[in-house]
């Protein structure tokens, strides 16, 4: 392997890892607050891509305004899903709400198939992101280069929100103990909505970064990335935000190097084997909370 090729692989790995990290944060936050794996998250990410196609292709809105529209509509979708599919089940057993999440996932996939057909649609090109950069021998697009930077930026911002703001404090309280937080006068509904808003915002951001270099959107486009990001979140310790980011990066990099070695058929297998190995030694993931019996 030449140095150039090595650098190129690294860049590709960190870039896809950054996107995984952005989506994994959504999984991990919702789990932290509601103890729910939001299986529809990957499909929300897919819907965000369709919103972009609508805004830029069907309505000819310039990309910077479209980006705003996409973020707002994705957030609305996420909050609506929470209101209609999850909140009525808040007091029911955890399994019911999980099944509801799987149901929403299928609903979104089939709705997309019904509305937009199964034909892959071309994701609109955002000119500023599609420029090709060359550093000596290594050639890449702007979007691949800035993805990890954006991911790290989003992570820092999110940590600040959680550590420094009132709503962040409320979120920490709710994830610690749902019932007590409620008794202490924390507006549970607001906290849950904010969680979904942040998760969907990052999913919308991730979808722009993901589909710009891979501009093919189809109804199942969110299922495999969704699954991998869920794995990334578990890998890093579900409920932990830095864990989700680290998990995303690790999975992205390991995947790329497995493919580079010519074993592309094993890249996903490896991802899941890695997960199993980690969970054997650290059942709660890398940064997971230690399981203490509540007395």
């Amino acid at each position: 392997m030449t140095t150039t090729a090595f650098l190129q692989y690294c860049l590709a790995g960190i870039s896809i890892g950054g996107i995984y990290a952005l989506i994994a944060i959504g999984y991990t936050m919702v789990y932290g607050i509601l103890r729910l794996i939001n299986f529809a998250h990957g499909d929300i990410f897919m819907m965000a891509a369709y919103f972009m196609i609508f805004a830029m292709v069907d309505f000819m809105i310039p990309w910077y305004i479209s980006a705003g529209i996409v973020i707002i509509s994705t957030i609305l979708l996420g909050v609506l899903i929470e209101k209609f599919a999850y909140s009525p089940l808040r007091s029911s057993p955890r399994m019911s709400i999980m099944i509801s999440a799987i149901g929403v996932s299928f609903l979104l996939q089939n709705l997309a198939t019904y509305l937009f057909s199964a034909l892959p649609k071309q994701y609109p090109s955002i000119p500023i992101l599609n420029k090709t950069l060359t550093f000596g021998e290594v050639s890449t697009s702007v979007v691949t280069f800035i993805t990890p930077i954006i991911t790290i930026g989003a992570l820092i911002l999110l940590m600040l929100i959680i550590k420094k703001t009132k709503i962040g404090m409320a979120m920490r309280a709710v994830s610690k103990d749902f019932e007590t937080a409620k008794l202490m006068g924390i507006e549970i509904n607001t906290v849950i909505s904010v969680t979904f808003i942040i998760g969907c915002f990052l999913a919308a951001l991730g979808s722009m970064l993901y589909f710009t270099p891979r501009p093919s959107v189809f109804p199942l486009a969110g299922s495999l990335p969704g699954l991998k990001c869920f794995v990334a979140a578990v890998f890093g310790g579900i409920g932990s935000i830095p864990g989700a980011v680290l998990g995303g990066f690790l999975i992205g990099i390991s995947e790329t190097f497995i493919k580079a070695a010519g074993y592309s058929e094993f890249s996903d297998v490896f991802t899941f084997v890695l997960l199993i190995v980690v969970l054997m030694f650290r059942p709660t993931g890398l940064f997971g909370e230690t399981l203490a019996e509540k007395v």
């Binding site: 590709a12 199964a118 691949t144 891979r214 189809f218 010519g262």
Partner: protein
């Protein structure tokens, strides 16, 4: 406990005996060698033809275009007269989801609905998976665009109206050699009969013609990130990259080829003939296909193109299914031809008192010979259409705005 297990054994034997005797409603004919052949009889005055295509999943786009061709054919020829009796032809559509497992279920559901012939499928893998189901029921199937040899090999109920991958792979290799390319890289999809088959025939033909394969990479189904294998290919520095893949993969891999700074000529197979792949990243790509709408040498094709465009524009939904253009896809033309092959077989039937059933239709299909949209159609002993010409098309700068492919030339094998 003993009694219970005995009961189970008896039940199993009974059920084996019952299924061995064949289900109800199917007529058994004696083959010369004494084994029974099942077939499905036509009931009443409606002939049901199954449309076995993917409308969702990886090949949902191309599958839908094939369905449009069959639907249009059905609107052109909705009834058929056999021995002076008028029959209505009804299409029964199922979605095989581009998935080998779902394909078998879909095929079984067609059989249970009593279809006497089947059109499809886009995607060789699903056709191969379902062929046994059709063979067991004695229902003939005509593939429109499934190019893998395995589809018709070793069974006498599967036919096809398109050329085969050994031919197509050789055509593309010949085209590459004609352009004086020496080093080729190949990217194929693991576990996909169409992709691996075509890649194999290309490699064989290209090396026989004196070229070298410098990189041979594979990827997984539903892969969206090709940066790793493209980096490997870039280091190998090929003149030409051959990518037999689905449309979904094509739209993903093309921009990544650009971003990775690979300037080799990209070649592909018939699947790429879909307007969705056209973008500034795909300019220069060339692929082989079955048909060209601007080829005016065939009067049947010329009439089909005009009428089919009218049909597409009659409903905005059809345009959506056709990748938002009214360009006639080769797979639509093949879907039309597959229907017409069955239609011609039905017309030629001479039942004269005998039962009108699916095996009779199968025997008639084998003898069919007519002028189709994609050329003259008649079947050899394997059930393959006898064809020797591929159309090479490319994407130019004009294509990006017009959303139409540019025809380069017809190519046959030396």
């Amino acid at each position: 406990m003993k009694k219970l297990s005995l009961l189970l054994v008896v039940l199993m034997l009974l059920s084996a005996f019952l299924t061995g005797c064949g289900g109800g409603g199917a007529a058994d004919e004696e083959k010369p060698d004494g084994s029974a052949v099942k077939s499905i009889a036509v009931e009443g005055d409606t002939i049901k033809i199954g449309v076995f295509e993917p409308t969702t999943g990886e090949n949902g786009g191309g599958g839908m275009q094939e369905v449009l061709g069959a639907r249009f054919a059905n609107s052109v020829a909705p009834t058929v007269a056999i021995d002076g009796k008028e029959y209505k032809i009804e299409l029964v559509e199922v979605d095989n989801q581009s998935d080998k497992t779902a394909a078998v279920t879909a095929a079984q559901s067609l059989i249970s609905k009593g279809v006497v012939a089947v059109i499809g499928s886009y995607g060789s893998g699903v056709s191969i998976a379902a062929s046994q189901t059709f063979a067991d029921a004695g229902v003939p199937a005509i593939g429109a665009s499934c190019t893998n040899p395995q589809v018709t090999l070793g069974n006498d109920i599967y036919f096809r109206v398109c050329f085969l991958d050994p031919f197509q792979g050789t055509v593309m290799a010949t085209y590459a050699t004609d352009q004086s390319f020496k080093n080729a890289a190949v990217i194929s999809q693991n576990g996909d009969d169409y992709s691996t088959g075509l890649a194999g025939y290309f490699k064989k033909a290209f090396t026989e013609q004196g070229g070298t394969i410098v990189a041979d990479e594979t990827y997984q189904t539903n892969e969206s990130d090709f940066n790793a294998i493209l980096t490997t290919i870039k280091s190998a520095n090929p003149d030409v990259v051959f990518i037999p893949s689905s449309i979904t993969t094509a739209t993903l891999i093309l921009p990544q080829i650009r971003a990775n700074g690979i300037n080799a000529q990209v070649l592909a197979g018939d699947t790429w003939e879909n307007a969705t792949i056209i973008s500034k990243d795909s300019v220069g790509v060339a692929f082989s296909t079955f048909f060209d709408e601007n080829d005016t040498s065939n009067p049947v094709a010329a009439k089909f193109v005009t009428d089919f465009k009218t049909y597409l524009n009659s409903d905005p939904k059809n345009i959506t299914y056709n990748a938002n253009t009214d360009t006639v896809a080769a797979v639509s033309a093949l879907g039309y031809d597959a229907y017409m092959a069955i239609y011609n077989a039905l017309q030629s039937l001479d039942v004269s008192g005998a039962e009108l059933n699916s095996m009779a239709i199968r025997d008639a299909i084998a003898k069919v010979s007519f002028d189709g949209v994609t050329g003259k159609i008649s079947f050899d002993d394997n059930g393959d259409a006898i064809k020797d010409t591929a159309y090479i098309k490319t994407i130019t700068d004009e294509s990006v705005t017009s959303k139409e492919f540019k025809f380069i030339k017809t190519q046959s094998v030396k």
